[in-house]
Amino acid sequence: MSSAPRAVRWLLLVGVVGLLTGCVAPPGEPLTAPPTLEVEQRALPEVAASSLERRAQEVTVRVRSLGCEQFGLGSGFVLPGGVVVTNRHVVDRPREVTINTWDGRSFPVGVVGVATDSDLALLQLEDDVDLPVAELRTTAVAAGEEVLVVGYPGGGAAEVATGRILGSVDGTVLGEPAEVLRIEVSVTQGSSGGPVFDRSGRVVGVVFAIEVDAGVGLAVPVETVLERLDTEVLVAPEPC
Protein backbone atom coordinates (compact mmCIF):
# COMPACT_ATOMS: atom_id res chain seq x y z
CA MET A 1 0.00 0.00 0.00
CA SER A 2 1.28 3.43 -0.97
CA SER A 3 1.61 6.29 1.55
CA ALA A 4 -0.65 8.71 -0.35
CA PRO A 5 -3.93 6.84 -0.02
CA ARG A 6 -3.05 6.11 3.57
CA ALA A 7 -2.52 9.74 4.20
CA VAL A 8 -5.84 10.53 2.58
CA ARG A 9 -7.53 8.06 4.86
CA TRP A 10 -5.80 9.61 7.86
CA LEU A 11 -6.95 12.95 6.74
CA LEU A 12 -10.50 11.71 6.45
CA LEU A 13 -10.24 10.04 9.83
CA VAL A 14 -8.91 13.16 11.44
CA GLY A 15 -11.63 15.19 9.76
CA VAL A 16 -14.34 12.85 10.96
CA VAL A 17 -12.95 12.83 14.50
CA GLY A 18 -12.74 16.63 14.37
CA LEU A 19 -16.33 16.89 13.24
CA LEU A 20 -17.50 14.46 15.89
CA THR A 21 -15.67 16.25 18.66
CA GLY A 22 -17.11 19.54 17.39
CA CYS A 23 -20.63 18.31 17.80
CA VAL A 24 -22.57 19.77 20.68
CA ALA A 25 -25.00 17.80 22.71
CA PRO A 26 -28.59 18.69 21.94
CA PRO A 27 -30.40 20.87 24.50
CA GLY A 28 -32.29 19.16 27.26
CA GLU A 29 -36.02 19.08 27.78
CA PRO A 30 -37.73 21.91 26.02
CA LEU A 31 -38.91 24.70 28.29
CA THR A 32 -42.47 24.67 29.38
CA ALA A 33 -44.70 27.12 27.59
CA PRO A 34 -44.40 30.55 29.20
CA PRO A 35 -47.33 31.15 31.50
CA THR A 36 -49.69 33.94 30.68
CA LEU A 37 -48.58 37.13 32.33
CA GLU A 38 -51.84 38.98 31.96
CA VAL A 39 -53.49 40.05 35.19
CA GLU A 40 -57.18 40.81 35.36
CA GLN A 41 -57.61 44.55 35.63
CA ARG A 42 -59.93 45.77 38.37
CA ALA A 43 -61.02 49.32 38.86
CA LEU A 44 -60.57 50.75 42.33
CA PRO A 45 -63.69 52.16 43.96
CA GLU A 46 -63.80 55.91 44.46
CA VAL A 47 -62.51 56.73 47.91
CA ALA A 48 -65.01 59.02 49.58
CA ALA A 49 -62.38 60.71 51.72
CA SER A 50 -60.66 62.17 48.68
CA SER A 51 -63.70 62.76 46.51
CA LEU A 52 -64.60 66.20 45.21
CA GLU A 53 -68.06 65.92 46.76
CA ARG A 54 -66.58 65.26 50.19
CA ARG A 55 -64.12 68.15 49.95
CA ALA A 56 -66.84 70.49 48.72
CA GLN A 57 -69.07 69.41 51.57
CA GLU A 58 -66.34 69.88 54.17
CA VAL A 59 -65.83 73.57 53.37
CA THR A 60 -69.55 74.35 53.18
CA VAL A 61 -71.27 75.36 56.39
CA ARG A 62 -74.83 75.98 57.54
CA VAL A 63 -75.41 79.51 58.75
CA ARG A 64 -77.94 80.27 61.48
CA SER A 65 -78.63 83.91 62.13
CA LEU A 66 -80.82 85.13 64.91
CA GLY A 67 -81.90 88.55 63.77
CA CYS A 68 -83.90 91.29 65.41
CA GLU A 69 -87.13 90.14 63.95
CA GLN A 70 -86.29 87.03 61.97
CA PHE A 71 -84.51 83.76 62.25
CA GLY A 72 -82.33 83.19 59.15
CA LEU A 73 -80.98 79.91 57.84
CA GLY A 74 -78.58 79.70 54.94
CA SER A 75 -75.30 78.31 53.71
CA GLY A 76 -71.76 79.60 53.42
CA PHE A 77 -68.20 78.47 52.90
CA VAL A 78 -64.99 78.83 54.80
CA LEU A 79 -61.94 80.68 53.50
CA PRO A 80 -58.45 80.86 55.01
CA GLY A 81 -58.19 82.89 58.19
CA GLY A 82 -61.51 81.72 59.57
CA VAL A 83 -63.45 83.90 57.14
CA VAL A 84 -66.88 82.66 56.09
CA VAL A 85 -68.68 83.96 53.00
CA THR A 86 -72.45 83.95 52.86
CA ASN A 87 -75.32 86.09 51.61
CA ARG A 88 -76.16 89.44 53.13
CA HIS A 89 -79.82 88.53 53.36
CA VAL A 90 -78.99 85.46 55.47
CA VAL A 91 -77.49 87.62 58.24
CA ASP A 92 -79.89 90.54 58.11
CA ARG A 93 -79.71 92.71 61.28
CA PRO A 94 -77.96 89.97 63.22
CA ARG A 95 -77.99 89.46 66.95
CA GLU A 96 -76.33 86.07 67.10
CA VAL A 97 -74.82 84.11 64.22
CA THR A 98 -73.62 80.50 64.35
CA ILE A 99 -72.25 78.12 61.75
CA ASN A 100 -72.78 74.37 61.69
CA THR A 101 -70.39 72.07 59.86
CA TRP A 102 -71.57 69.12 57.82
CA ASP A 103 -70.48 66.74 60.58
CA GLY A 104 -72.35 68.47 63.37
CA ARG A 105 -69.92 70.95 64.91
CA SER A 106 -71.14 74.45 65.81
CA PHE A 107 -69.11 77.63 66.08
CA PRO A 108 -70.10 81.21 66.85
CA VAL A 109 -69.18 83.81 64.23
CA GLY A 110 -69.25 87.55 64.06
CA VAL A 111 -70.36 89.60 61.07
CA VAL A 112 -67.30 91.42 59.72
CA GLY A 113 -69.31 93.36 57.20
CA VAL A 114 -71.86 93.25 54.44
CA ALA A 115 -71.58 94.46 50.87
CA THR A 116 -73.77 97.39 50.00
CA ASP A 117 -73.94 96.61 46.29
CA SER A 118 -74.05 92.83 46.35
CA ASP A 119 -75.78 90.10 48.31
CA LEU A 120 -72.59 89.12 50.11
CA ALA A 121 -71.51 89.15 53.73
CA LEU A 122 -68.27 88.22 55.44
CA LEU A 123 -68.28 86.45 58.77
CA GLN A 124 -65.37 85.69 61.07
CA LEU A 125 -65.04 82.62 63.25
CA GLU A 126 -64.74 83.71 66.87
CA ASP A 127 -62.92 80.56 67.93
CA ASP A 128 -59.52 79.54 66.63
CA VAL A 129 -60.61 76.36 64.86
CA ASP A 130 -58.94 74.59 61.99
CA LEU A 131 -61.67 74.01 59.45
CA PRO A 132 -61.11 72.89 55.84
CA VAL A 133 -61.02 75.91 53.57
CA ALA A 134 -62.18 76.56 50.03
CA GLU A 135 -60.08 77.83 47.16
CA LEU A 136 -61.41 80.63 44.97
CA ARG A 137 -60.96 80.41 41.22
CA THR A 138 -59.42 83.52 39.73
CA THR A 139 -60.42 82.94 36.13
CA ALA A 140 -63.85 83.49 34.64
CA VAL A 141 -66.22 80.58 34.34
CA ALA A 142 -67.61 79.63 30.93
CA ALA A 143 -71.08 78.56 29.90
CA GLY A 144 -71.43 74.81 29.74
CA GLU A 145 -68.96 74.09 32.52
CA GLU A 146 -70.02 71.41 34.95
CA VAL A 147 -70.40 72.60 38.51
CA LEU A 148 -71.31 71.35 41.97
CA VAL A 149 -73.55 73.28 44.31
CA VAL A 150 -73.42 72.48 48.00
CA GLY A 151 -75.87 73.81 50.53
CA TYR A 152 -78.29 73.13 53.33
CA PRO A 153 -81.67 73.43 51.61
CA GLY A 154 -84.44 74.05 54.07
CA GLY A 155 -81.88 74.14 56.86
CA GLY A 156 -81.58 70.38 56.54
CA ALA A 157 -78.59 68.12 55.95
CA ALA A 158 -75.79 69.08 53.57
CA GLU A 159 -76.63 68.28 49.97
CA VAL A 160 -74.49 68.20 46.85
CA ALA A 161 -76.14 68.89 43.50
CA THR A 162 -74.48 68.79 40.10
CA GLY A 163 -75.33 70.83 37.04
CA ARG A 164 -73.72 73.22 34.63
CA ILE A 165 -73.34 76.90 33.97
CA LEU A 166 -76.05 78.08 31.61
CA GLY A 167 -74.61 81.54 31.11
CA SER A 168 -74.95 84.90 32.76
CA VAL A 169 -77.58 87.62 33.01
CA ASP A 170 -77.58 91.26 33.94
CA GLY A 171 -77.43 91.45 37.71
CA THR A 172 -78.24 95.12 38.17
CA VAL A 173 -81.97 94.43 38.33
CA LEU A 174 -81.20 92.06 41.20
CA GLY A 175 -79.06 94.58 43.03
CA GLU A 176 -75.77 93.15 41.85
CA PRO A 177 -72.96 95.25 40.41
CA ALA A 178 -72.25 92.96 37.47
CA GLU A 179 -73.62 89.99 35.59
CA VAL A 180 -74.66 86.98 37.66
CA LEU A 181 -74.38 83.32 36.78
CA ARG A 182 -77.35 81.18 35.80
CA ILE A 183 -76.85 77.63 37.04
CA GLU A 184 -78.77 74.58 35.94
CA VAL A 185 -79.23 73.44 39.51
CA SER A 186 -82.40 73.57 41.52
CA VAL A 187 -81.81 75.61 44.66
CA THR A 188 -84.21 76.27 47.50
CA GLN A 189 -84.36 78.40 50.61
CA GLY A 190 -81.43 77.51 52.80
CA SER A 191 -79.12 77.13 49.82
CA SER A 192 -78.49 80.87 49.85
CA GLY A 193 -74.83 81.62 50.40
CA GLY A 194 -73.79 78.15 49.31
CA PRO A 195 -70.72 77.83 47.09
CA VAL A 196 -70.68 76.81 43.44
CA PHE A 197 -67.63 74.65 42.67
CA ASP A 198 -66.01 73.82 39.36
CA ARG A 199 -64.84 70.28 38.66
CA SER A 200 -61.49 71.10 40.23
CA GLY A 201 -63.11 71.98 43.53
CA ARG A 202 -62.57 75.74 43.28
CA VAL A 203 -65.35 78.18 44.08
CA VAL A 204 -66.72 79.99 41.04
CA GLY A 205 -69.81 81.57 42.56
CA VAL A 206 -72.14 82.04 45.51
CA VAL A 207 -75.81 81.07 45.24
CA PHE A 208 -78.08 83.97 46.15
CA ALA A 209 -81.39 83.69 44.32
CA ILE A 210 -83.71 81.54 42.28
CA GLU A 211 -85.02 82.31 38.83
CA VAL A 212 -88.49 81.07 39.60
CA ASP A 213 -89.84 80.89 36.05
CA ALA A 214 -86.96 78.82 34.72
CA GLY A 215 -86.34 76.98 37.96
CA VAL A 216 -82.62 77.66 37.88
CA GLY A 217 -80.27 79.08 40.45
CA LEU A 218 -78.52 82.43 40.31
CA ALA A 219 -75.07 82.96 41.73
CA VAL A 220 -72.82 85.91 42.40
CA PRO A 221 -69.68 85.27 40.29
CA VAL A 222 -66.38 84.76 42.03
CA GLU A 223 -64.99 87.99 40.54
CA THR A 224 -67.48 89.98 42.61
CA VAL A 225 -66.65 87.88 45.67
CA LEU A 226 -62.93 88.58 45.21
CA GLU A 227 -63.60 92.31 45.03
CA ARG A 228 -65.78 92.24 48.15
CA LEU A 229 -63.21 90.32 50.18
CA ASP A 230 -61.52 93.65 50.69
CA THR A 231 -63.11 94.59 53.99
CA GLU A 232 -62.79 98.30 53.22
CA VAL A 233 -65.65 98.07 50.75
CA LEU A 234 -67.87 96.40 53.33
CA VAL A 235 -70.03 98.13 55.88
CA ALA A 236 -71.18 97.06 59.31
CA PRO A 237 -74.55 95.33 59.31
CA GLU A 238 -77.60 97.30 60.34
CA PRO A 239 -77.90 97.04 64.10
CA CYS A 240 -80.84 95.53 65.90
Binding site: V14, T21, G22, P35, V39, R42, E69, D103, G104, G155
Partner: protein
Amino acid sequence: MPIEHGDPAAGVRPLPPPARRRWVVVVLAVLLVLAVTAAVIAGLVAADQREAAADWQQRTTTLQQQLDEVVEERTQLAVQRDEAIDALIASESDVAALEDRVRTLAEEKARAEDTATTVSVERDVFIELSEVVTEATSSLDTCVTRLFELQEASVAAFNAAAAGRQVDVVALNARAETVTGFCEQARSAVAEAEAAADRLRRSS
Protein backbone atom coordinates in the same frame (compact mmCIF):
# COMPACT_ATOMS: atom_id res chain seq x y z
CA MET B 1 6.50 11.02 -24.43
CA PRO B 2 5.27 9.62 -21.09
CA ILE B 3 7.32 6.80 -19.68
CA GLU B 4 5.53 3.62 -18.77
CA HIS B 5 6.63 2.25 -15.40
CA GLY B 6 4.37 -0.75 -15.30
CA ASP B 7 1.67 -2.61 -16.91
CA PRO B 8 -1.75 -1.30 -15.92
CA ALA B 9 -3.38 -4.40 -17.15
CA ALA B 10 -1.34 -6.41 -14.68
CA GLY B 11 -2.69 -4.25 -11.73
CA VAL B 12 0.50 -2.50 -11.21
CA ARG B 13 0.09 1.18 -10.75
CA PRO B 14 2.75 3.21 -12.33
CA LEU B 15 4.70 5.15 -9.78
CA PRO B 16 5.17 8.80 -10.22
CA PRO B 17 8.58 9.97 -10.68
CA PRO B 18 10.58 10.38 -7.42
CA ALA B 19 10.46 14.20 -7.40
CA ARG B 20 6.72 14.24 -7.76
CA ARG B 21 6.32 11.60 -5.09
CA ARG B 22 8.19 13.77 -2.65
CA TRP B 23 5.89 16.66 -3.41
CA VAL B 24 2.84 14.53 -2.79
CA VAL B 25 4.24 13.30 0.49
CA VAL B 26 5.10 16.82 1.57
CA VAL B 27 1.66 18.10 0.58
CA LEU B 28 -0.05 15.21 2.34
CA ALA B 29 2.07 15.75 5.43
CA VAL B 30 1.23 19.41 5.49
CA LEU B 31 -2.43 18.62 5.02
CA LEU B 32 -2.20 16.05 7.80
CA VAL B 33 -0.65 18.57 10.14
CA LEU B 34 -3.28 21.13 9.17
CA ALA B 35 -6.04 18.61 9.64
CA VAL B 36 -4.74 17.58 13.04
CA THR B 37 -4.36 21.20 14.05
CA ALA B 38 -7.87 21.97 12.78
CA ALA B 39 -9.19 18.95 14.62
CA VAL B 40 -7.52 20.01 17.85
CA ILE B 41 -8.83 23.56 17.48
CA ALA B 42 -12.28 22.28 16.58
CA GLY B 43 -12.19 20.05 19.61
CA LEU B 44 -11.24 22.93 21.89
CA VAL B 45 -13.93 25.15 20.38
CA ALA B 46 -16.41 22.34 20.68
CA ALA B 47 -15.53 21.90 24.33
CA ASP B 48 -16.07 25.60 24.89
CA GLN B 49 -19.34 25.44 23.04
CA ARG B 50 -20.47 22.50 25.10
CA GLU B 51 -19.57 24.32 28.27
CA ALA B 52 -21.38 27.47 27.07
CA ALA B 53 -24.38 25.43 26.04
CA ALA B 54 -24.43 23.78 29.45
CA ASP B 55 -24.21 27.20 31.09
CA TRP B 56 -27.08 28.52 29.01
CA GLN B 57 -29.04 25.41 29.76
CA GLN B 58 -28.45 25.92 33.46
CA ARG B 59 -29.28 29.59 33.18
CA THR B 60 -32.46 28.79 31.31
CA THR B 61 -33.48 26.31 33.95
CA THR B 62 -32.77 28.86 36.69
CA LEU B 63 -34.70 31.54 34.86
CA GLN B 64 -37.57 29.15 34.34
CA GLN B 65 -37.64 28.49 38.07
CA GLN B 66 -37.47 32.20 38.80
CA LEU B 67 -40.24 32.86 36.30
CA ASP B 68 -42.37 30.20 37.92
CA GLU B 69 -41.75 31.76 41.31
CA VAL B 70 -42.54 35.25 40.03
CA VAL B 71 -45.72 34.01 38.39
CA GLU B 72 -46.72 32.31 41.61
CA GLU B 73 -45.92 35.43 43.58
CA ARG B 74 -47.87 37.54 41.11
CA THR B 75 -50.83 35.21 41.41
CA GLN B 76 -50.72 35.52 45.17
CA LEU B 77 -50.42 39.30 44.91
CA ALA B 78 -53.37 39.39 42.54
CA VAL B 79 -55.38 37.42 45.06
CA GLN B 80 -54.31 39.78 47.83
CA ARG B 81 -55.12 42.76 45.61
CA ASP B 82 -58.59 41.38 44.92
CA GLU B 83 -59.14 40.84 48.63
CA ALA B 84 -57.94 44.38 49.34
CA ILE B 85 -60.22 45.84 46.67
CA ASP B 86 -63.17 43.86 47.99
CA ALA B 87 -62.39 45.08 51.50
CA LEU B 88 -62.06 48.65 50.23
CA ILE B 89 -65.39 48.43 48.44
CA ALA B 90 -67.03 47.12 51.60
CA SER B 91 -65.26 49.77 53.66
CA GLU B 92 -66.32 52.56 51.31
CA SER B 93 -69.88 51.33 51.49
CA ASP B 94 -69.67 51.42 55.29
CA VAL B 95 -68.11 54.89 55.16
CA ALA B 96 -70.88 56.15 52.89
CA ALA B 97 -73.51 54.74 55.25
CA LEU B 98 -71.75 56.25 58.26
CA GLU B 99 -71.42 59.61 56.53
CA ASP B 100 -75.14 59.57 55.81
CA ARG B 101 -75.71 58.84 59.46
CA VAL B 102 -73.35 61.65 60.48
CA ARG B 103 -75.22 64.05 58.19
CA THR B 104 -78.54 62.98 59.66
CA LEU B 105 -77.28 63.40 63.22
CA ALA B 106 -75.68 66.75 62.34
CA GLU B 107 -79.00 67.91 60.92
CA GLU B 108 -80.83 66.78 64.05
CA LYS B 109 -78.27 68.58 66.23
CA ALA B 110 -78.51 71.75 64.15
CA ARG B 111 -82.29 71.69 64.29
CA ALA B 112 -82.14 71.10 68.03
CA GLU B 113 -79.88 74.13 68.31
CA ASP B 114 -82.34 76.09 66.15
CA THR B 115 -85.09 75.12 68.52
CA ALA B 116 -82.94 75.95 71.53
CA THR B 117 -82.17 79.35 70.04
CA THR B 118 -85.85 79.98 69.31
CA VAL B 119 -86.84 78.81 72.76
CA SER B 120 -84.15 81.02 74.23
CA VAL B 121 -85.54 83.99 72.34
CA GLU B 122 -89.06 83.12 73.38
CA ARG B 123 -87.90 82.72 76.97
CA ASP B 124 -86.35 86.19 76.82
CA VAL B 125 -89.57 87.56 75.37
CA PHE B 126 -91.62 85.81 78.06
CA ILE B 127 -89.35 87.16 80.75
CA GLU B 128 -89.70 90.65 79.30
CA LEU B 129 -93.45 90.19 79.00
CA SER B 130 -93.64 88.89 82.51
CA GLU B 131 -91.70 91.89 83.79
CA VAL B 132 -93.85 94.44 81.99
CA VAL B 133 -97.04 92.66 83.00
CA THR B 134 -95.85 92.66 86.59
CA GLU B 135 -95.03 96.34 86.27
CA ALA B 136 -98.42 97.06 84.71
CA THR B 137 -100.18 95.04 87.38
CA SER B 138 -98.32 96.83 90.12
CA SER B 139 -99.06 100.21 88.55
CA LEU B 140 -102.72 99.34 88.15
CA ASP B 141 -102.85 98.16 91.73
CA THR B 142 -101.33 101.41 92.89
CA CYS B 143 -103.75 103.33 90.69
CA VAL B 144 -106.75 101.46 92.08
CA THR B 145 -105.54 101.85 95.67
CA ARG B 146 -105.01 105.55 95.20
CA LEU B 147 -108.39 105.86 93.50
CA PHE B 148 -110.07 104.21 96.45
CA GLU B 149 -108.20 106.57 98.76
CA LEU B 150 -109.23 109.52 96.62
CA GLN B 151 -112.80 108.26 96.61
CA GLU B 152 -112.78 108.06 100.43
CA ALA B 153 -111.24 111.53 100.71
CA SER B 154 -113.79 112.89 98.23
CA VAL B 155 -116.70 111.31 100.15
CA ALA B 156 -115.29 112.69 103.42
CA ALA B 157 -114.93 116.14 101.90
CA PHE B 158 -118.44 115.94 100.48
CA ASN B 159 -119.82 114.95 103.89
CA ALA B 160 -117.83 117.70 105.56
CA ALA B 161 -119.11 120.27 103.10
CA ALA B 162 -122.66 119.03 103.64
CA ALA B 163 -122.15 119.41 107.37
CA GLY B 164 -121.01 122.99 106.82
CA ARG B 165 -117.38 122.31 107.66
CA GLN B 166 -114.45 123.81 105.82
CA VAL B 167 -113.11 121.61 103.00
CA ASP B 168 -109.57 121.92 101.55
CA VAL B 169 -110.46 121.68 97.88
CA VAL B 170 -106.91 122.56 96.72
CA ALA B 171 -105.45 119.63 98.61
CA LEU B 172 -108.17 117.38 97.25
CA ASN B 173 -107.49 118.51 93.69
CA ALA B 174 -103.73 118.01 94.17
CA ARG B 175 -104.40 114.52 95.44
CA ALA B 176 -106.60 113.84 92.43
CA GLU B 177 -103.79 114.97 90.13
CA THR B 178 -101.34 112.67 91.85
CA VAL B 179 -103.73 109.75 91.47
CA THR B 180 -104.19 110.64 87.82
CA GLY B 181 -100.40 110.50 87.38
CA PHE B 182 -100.30 107.04 88.98
CA CYS B 183 -103.06 105.86 86.71
CA GLU B 184 -101.36 107.33 83.62
CA GLN B 185 -98.27 105.34 84.57
CA ALA B 186 -100.42 102.29 84.88
CA ARG B 187 -101.83 102.89 81.40
CA SER B 188 -98.33 103.22 79.98
CA ALA B 189 -97.33 100.00 81.69
CA VAL B 190 -100.36 98.24 80.26
CA ALA B 191 -99.57 99.58 76.78
CA GLU B 192 -96.02 98.29 77.12
CA ALA B 193 -97.32 94.90 78.18
CA GLU B 194 -99.62 94.83 75.18
CA ALA B 195 -96.69 95.67 72.89
CA ALA B 196 -94.60 92.90 74.41
CA ALA B 197 -97.44 90.44 73.96
CA ASP B 198 -97.80 91.59 70.37
CA ARG B 199 -94.08 90.99 69.73
CA LEU B 200 -94.41 87.52 71.17
CA ARG B 201 -97.35 86.81 68.93
CA ARG B 202 -95.41 88.00 65.87
CA SER B 203 -92.29 86.00 66.72
CA SER B 204 -94.11 82.72 67.25
